[in-house]
């Protein structure tokens, strides 16, 4: 357990020492500011209330979870796996007293931590924006729903990250992994639009599953069904990714 903890801390430090994280936060902040400006324009220009104080963070999440978050998650996964393989730095950790299953799990955990922190930062910033511009409509229940929506979004995004992890352990080049990830992302979204009946089979359609949690009455069966589909996807790609990681000769 000691070496696993050490590996998780190391992987998190390595992720946060890269400039990509700062860029991710800046772009997220920029997206929130732009979103708030648009909402303010609609509110003042057309005399409408586009969104309330606690609806604004959900609006941001809907856009964020489908664009910026998967994009930066993909880049971080590529850094953590393909980057280390191509820069020959993977062997630094692999020659320390830690098994490959622990190292692989530590890397996946660090990516999940990155996604969680990113979600929390965006949630806090968007809530702050919501409070500043629509403070009259803030309720405790609204804040709870925002919190819940952001937390549950972690699950499908991590499952998506595991697909990228799998790809990063197949292809040697980070660029190849990135382009295949983009193609998969676009293809999944296109298939979801073309065949909406089968949308629940594709992980990218789950990025907005937080909407299932943001209701007055939970649809338990639907939540469970989607959860098990995400879980199944995560288990499959975690296992396949680890198999390739373990068998890889450096």
């Amino acid at each position: 357990m000691g070496t696993f903890k050490a590996a998780v801390i190391n992987e998190i430090i390595k992720i946060y020492k890269k400039k990509k994280v700062i860029v991710a936060v800046i772009i997220s902040l920029f997206a929130i500011v732009m979103g708030q400006l648009m909402v303010t324009v609609v509110n003042t220009g057309f005399g409408l209330r586009a969104v309330s104080g606690t609806q604004f963070p959900i609006l941001v999440l809907s856009l964020f979870s489908r664009t910026i978050l998967p994009f930066f998650t993909t880049l971080v996964v590529i850094d953590v796996f393909s980057g280390e393989f191509s820069h020959n730095t993977m062997k630094i950790t692999m020659t320390r007293p830690i098994t490959r299953i622990k190292l692989f799990t530590a890397k996946v955990s660090a990516v999940a931590f990155f996604v969680l922190v990113n979600l929390i930062i965006v949630m806090l910033l968007s809530m702050l924006a919501g409070i500043l511009f629509n403070s009259d409509s803030i309720t405790e229940m609204g804040v709870f729903r925002v919190l819940l929506a952001y937390i549950v979004t972690l699950i499908p995004v991590v499952a998506f990250a595991l697909i990228i992890v799998f790809l990063a352990n197949i292809f040697k080049s980070g660029t190849t992994v990135f382009f295949i990830s983009v193609i998969i992302f676009i293809a999944f979204n296109a298939i979801t639009i073309a065949f909406p009946r089968y949308s629940s089979l594709f992980i990218t359609s789950m990025f907005d599953w937080h909407s299932l949690w943001n209701v007055n009455t939970f649809q338990i069966s639907k939540i469970l069904r989607e959860f098990f589909i995400i879980l199944g996807c995560a288990i499959m790609f975690y296992t396949a990714g680890y198999y390739l990681f373990d068998k890889r000769d450096l």
């Binding site: 590996a7 190391n10 430090i13 630094i92 020659t95 007293p97 450096l250």
Partner: protein, 241 residues
């Protein structure tokens, strides 16, 4: 004598037909073992298999009695190594690099990090990013990382690569110092006969993926004028020189 590293019938064949074949080897505690062979002989392949970076087609490696394939953590607990090239995270400082590695061990604190940086002569560059380091400085950092945890076995693949003459002398002295004072066992590969002759006390010759012979330097120099003569003779017996 305690066997710290035992290689039993290790074979690894690449698609191009090259590789290493039926390597059997014992390294005893306190040895400075020189693994000598020309470029492409299979030294790095053998060392990668010894440290678990690569899997063998057959055979096994035991370090301190633990199989590298079945008990990796136990086998590597008292091992430090540089394999192929001394790599480090270039976006981190020398200190940050060593701090990352120190987390895998219970008894490595900041004082120990300073100590190994001092031993390898790069303490004054402690806070500098590795991306600004020369090849020699990176090599010194690699050696610092390898000895950080006070390992009982240090496996070094071409450790003097990239070092200037002064650096070579210092690292050679460091290897001898650790072998004498801390009874550290070294397994060092090199294609430079002179280096091996100056540093090691037992020598194994690897040629075309096969271990041609293993003997002590003392014995070799009793029978041959120099290690080079011995090398030429041993490789010649295999009909390849």
């Amino acid at each position: 004598m305690e066997t710290v590293l035992k290689v039993v019938g290790v074979t690894k064949k690449y698609n191009n037909g090259r590789g290493i074949f039926d390597i059997n080897l014992d390294v005893q505690r306190g040895d400075i073992f020189g693994f000598l062979g020309p470029n492409g002989a299979g030294k790095t392949t053998a060392m990668k298999i010894m440290t678990g970076l690569m899997s063998a087609d057959s055979g096994d490696v035991e370090i301190f009695g633990h199989s590298i394939t079945k008990e990796f953590e136990k086998a590597m607990r008292k091992v430090g190594c540089i394999i192929e090239t001394a790599e480090s995270y270039t976006y981190l400082s020398a200190y940050e690099n060593l701090k990352l590695f120190s987390r895998f061990y219970d008894d490595v604190d900041n004082n120990r990090i300073d100590e190994v940086l001092e031993l390898t002569g790069i303490l004054k560059y402690k806070k500098e990013k590795v991306k600004n380091f020369s090849l020699g400085m990176k090599q010194r950092l690699g050696i610092a990382a390898a000895i950080l945890s006070r390992p009982e076995l240090v496996i070094l693949d071409e450790p003097l690569n990239g070092l200037d003459v002064q650096g070579m002398i210092e690292i050679r002295k460091l290897i001898k110092l650790l072998a004498e004072t801390e009874k550290t066992t070294f397994f060092i590969s090199s294609h430079l006969i002179h280096d091996v002759e100056l540093t090691c006390d037992r020598i194994g010759i690897l040629y075309n993926g096969r271990l041609v012979n293993v003997d002590s330097k003392e014995n070799i120099l009793k029978n041959y004028a120099s290690l080079e003569n011995y090398y030429v003779s041993e490789v010649g017996k295999n009909g390849n020189i």
